[in-house]
């Protein structure tokens, strides 16, 4: 008799665990501002039952979902509400990505082209007439400030200025730098290398790294995302087999995408990689706990820092690694902002039809930041950084950059020499 009774839940994304409690709806940032959005419970497990019978029940309002996964964080019963919605979009959407969507999503292509002529690109993107054209023709909202493109890619800097000396170390890690570091802000990558080197770790880049693909997934280009994902997994497997203890990252969303969205949404196998792929803050925290790394900080570093939890960071559950590291800095006055979506959701906030909604979603966060009035806001996500800088005017730094700023490099090197 017991063979005929289903003892365990077998449904995709655990959708049969849904109790219809509606708690996910309470925490959905879109539901808070947008009456047209059916809400995570309805768009997810409710409609899934209908969609399984007839794909006609899919509708395009699901594209209002930010893919922030706060519904999953809130769910008391482990239903992967966000995944259900994203998978429905991948499976049933008939909407073909526009040129604008392709451009926003293809960060490698656009980034490479833009950095070739960065001064011109940056100048052009800052001009009002240009922004008007982008707004009217491409429907990229004219309020959005594009992040500046760097003249030199991080990879180029690394090959020219850092690669050679990396072999002087006894321990090694791989580094997935991501598009932001490579095309917009190489300094973050440089900060990362500075810290790892001070701790006695050499850094190796991956062979032919590609964009993690999160923007491709969000814009209906999951086929391309899957190809890029498979490329990245090959590169990481190779990196781990060549003596690198782990593959580290400095972006929360890239990390979450490659660890979880790859297997859950794209069916890209990351076994053998996932456990060794992590944020640099996690790696550093663990090594410090184990007594294998020691960090020494400058005595003249005094800053008030307000930490913002990016949505995917909360979903991964790794906030405490970044916050514990920041709290180790003696001169740092640490404050935790209420965990609240900033509203940009990657390429979502750049689109004209989403801009106002994005700003409404982020408004309570921006208000709290004004009230707190910190020296810096710190967060592990680069698009949160753009959004907060644009919407509040406060400078935003990745915890790795703050650590690098506060680090007493010589003293740290001395302490880690014998490890």
């Amino acid at each position: 008799m017991s063979e005929k009774i289903q003892l365990h839940n077998l449904s995709a994304h655990d959708f049969e665990q849904c109790l219809k409690c509606s708690i996910c709806t309470v925490y959905c940032p879109v539901s808070a501002v947008e009456p047209n959005y059916p809400g995570p419970k309805h768009a997810g497990p409710d409609l899934m039952r209908y969609r399984m019978k007839d794909p006609d029940f899919f509708n395009e309002t699901l594209k209002l979902c930010l893919n922030c996964k706060r519904c999953e964080v809130a769910c008391p019963h482990g239903v992967k509400v966000g995944d259900i919605i994203q998978e429905a979009r991948i499976q049933y959407s008939q909407h073909s990505p526009s040129l604008r969507d392709r451009m926003l999503a293809n960060t490698d292509f656009v980034g490479s082209m833009a950095t070739l002529v960065a001064p011109l690109t940056n100048f052009f993107l800052g001009l009002s007439p240009a922004k008007t054209v982008l707004d009217k023709v491409m429907k990229i909202d004219h309020h959005r400030q594009f992040p500046a493109y760097s003249g030199t890619k991080f990879e180029t800097w690394f090959h020219r200025h850092a690669e050679a000396e990396q072999q002087n170390y006894k321990h090694f890690v791989g580094y997935f730098h991501g598009c932001y570091v490579n095309y917009n802000y190489p300094k973050l990558g440089q900060d990362f290398v500075k810290i790892m080197n001070a701790c006695g770790y050499g850094v190796h880049l991956l062979e032919k790294e590609k964009c993690c693909g999160v923007a491709l997934i969000a814009n209906g280009l999951s086929g391309q995302a899957k190809r890029q994902g498979e490329n990245n997994m090959r590169a990481m497997r190779r990196s781990l087999s060549e003596g690198n203890e782990a593959v580290l990252t400095t972006s929360s969303t890239c990390t979450f995408t490659m660890r979880d969205e790859y297997p859950d949404l794209l069916k890209v196998d990351n076994q053998g990689v996932r456990d060794s792929l992590m944020l640099a803050t996690r790696f550093l925290c663990q090594k410090i706990d184990e007594g294998k790394i020691k960090l020494v900080f400058r005595k003249d570093y005094h800053k008030k820092v307000a930490y913002h939890t990016a949505c995917h960071m909360e979903r991964m559950g790794w906030t405490l690694y970044s916050t514990q590291l920041l709290k180790m800095i003696p001169g740092l006055d640490f404050m935790m902002l209420d965990s609240h979506c900033c509203g940009i959701a990657g390429t979502y906030g750049f689109k004209k039809e989403n801009y106002e909604r994005s700003q409404k979603i982020g408004a309570p966060l921006f208000q709290q930041i004004q009230e707190v009035n910190p020296d810096y806001v710190s967060t592990d996500c680069e698009t949160c950084k753009w959004q907060i800088e644009m919407s509040t005017g406060y400078p935003v730094m990745n915890p790795i950059s703050i650590l690098a700023d506060a680090l007493d490099v010589e003293a740290t090197k001395a302490l880690n020499q014998n490890c």
């Binding site: 509606s22 708690i23 309805h42 008391p76 663990q286």
Partner: protein, 409 residues
């Protein structure tokens, strides 16, 4: 990673304990697998509502007559703990009205008068049904809001002798909110209204629809999702006396309590892991040394003391299949009150006392749990994971949550 105290579970009992320990200067971490039962909260806290089927007048005194197995008997000074709990809530921004020696009544979403100990300020309460005789009450709802059962409430108030006039109103913002009917919920309305100009709009409408002779306006609890600012603003802006009645969940007052407790805990320097599940831990010499979680993988969380506040079946603290009931995290000893097999876990009539509702972990007088018959010296259980309480028939759940959270450690 090392802490002084690690609390497993982020609901009412877990957060209360976390705040109390953080106030003592300890480094506290709370691990929560998801959001809590507070999202169904009525807005009131109960020490003891019923005994032998009858409403209780003086809960502190009535507690003495509870069976020995009830967690309240392990508490010590109940009255002192009750006062402490009330102060802790107030310090977090949850102001309450009530008296531990004298239950008042709240109005349930379908119009029943339910005895209770503390109710959040601005929610509707009465000392007795007689208070409403002859009172002129304006019962007001928002057009299109389905989670407020006006006919039941009107009938119930009428039966208590009140003169009830029913009104409804809307504003352009609220009319817009009806676009997605399944999403016009109390919590979404509270978020749309979390804006002074929208609250003033509502106030204007209320002032214009209030019946000429009206002692009291009753509204659904749809204001104040993160704090009570919007509630206070509305009350100031409306000419008539105004109180709120609990809606069908998700509960705005409950969500507010959760937000305020979380904020208070983080202000006190506490660390919250809001989306993680403890997979197990390392025991040595009858002590728990560390726990491991789903997201942190090989990072061990060490502490001097651990508190299990994982809730009952709903929270996932207890789980069952056709053969057994288990404590989900560590497989601790459970108390099933003599139930031999699964046929003994339930009784046929749904609203009769169900044995499974009193299931929980075995705990000694210091709330320490045991595993395979041996007490674990530094692992404590609080809240509904404890055995012996009876939320449906005694109305004691939130009292057990708050008081055990303060009595432990």
């Amino acid at each position: 990673m090392k802490f002084d105290t690690i609390i497993i579970g982020g609901g009412l009992s877990g957060m209360t304990c976390a705040i109390a320990q953080a106030q003592k200067g300890k480094r506290v971490a709370v691990i929560a697998a998801g959001q809590s039962n507070l999202h169904f909260h009525s807005g009131s806290f109960d020490l003891l509502g019923y005994q032998q089927g009858q409403p209780v007048c003086d809960p502190v005194t009535a507690i003495a007559a509870l069976p020995e197995s009830h967690p309240y008997h392990r508490l010590g000074d109940v009255e002192q703990l009750a006062t402490q709990a009330r102060q802790l809530l107030a310090d977090a921004g949850v102001g309450t009205q009530g008296d531990a020696h004298h239950n008042h009544f709240r109005l349930s979403p379908i119009g029943k008068l339910v005895p209770t100990w503390l109710t959040m300020e601005d929610m509707f309460t009465v000392g007795s049904a007689e208070e409403l005789k002859g009172k002129k009450i304006g019962l007001v709802n928002i057009v299109g809001f389905l989670d407020f059962t006006v006919p039941y409430l009107a009938d119930a108030l009428h039966d208590m002798g009140a003169e009830v006039t029913v009104r409804s109103f809307t504003t352009p913002l609220l009319e817009n909110a009806r676009r997605s009917p399944s999403e016009m919920r109390a919590t979404n309305i509270a978020k749309y209204l979390d804006d002074d100009s929208h609250v003033k709009e509502v106030a204007d409408r209320l002032n214009s629809i209030t019946p000429r002779e009206c002692d009291l306006l009753l509204l659904p609890a749809i204001l104040g999702i993160a704090n009570d600012r919007a509630v206070k603003l509305l009350k100031e802006s409306v000419k008539t006396s105004l109180r709120f009645v609990a809606t069908i969940p998700p509960s705005v007052p409950g969500t507010r309590i959760q937000s305020l407790l979380r904020r208070r805990f983080q202000q006190l320097g506490g660390t919250l892991l809001p989306n993680d599940t403890v997979k197990g831990g390392g025991f040595e010499n009858n002590r728990l040394k560390y726990v491991c979680t789903e997201n942190l993988a090989d990072t061990r969380l060490e502490a001097n003391e651990f508190v299990l506040a994982t809730g009952s079946f709903l929270g996932g603290g207890l789980s069952s299949d056709y053969y057994s009931v288990r404590e989900s995290v560590f497989g601790l000893d459970v108390e099933l009150n003599g139930a031999a097999s699964h046929v003994d876990w339930t009784t046929d009539k749904l609203f009769d006392k169900q044995p499974y509702e009193s299931f929980g972990v075995k705990a000694d007088n210091q709330f320490r749990v045991s595993k395979d018959g041996t007490t674990i010296d530094n692992l404590y259980a609080i809240g509904s994971i404890l055995s012996g309480n009876d939320p449906q028939h005694l109305a004691d759940a939130t009292g057990v949550d708050l008081l055990t959270a303060l009595a432990v450690l």
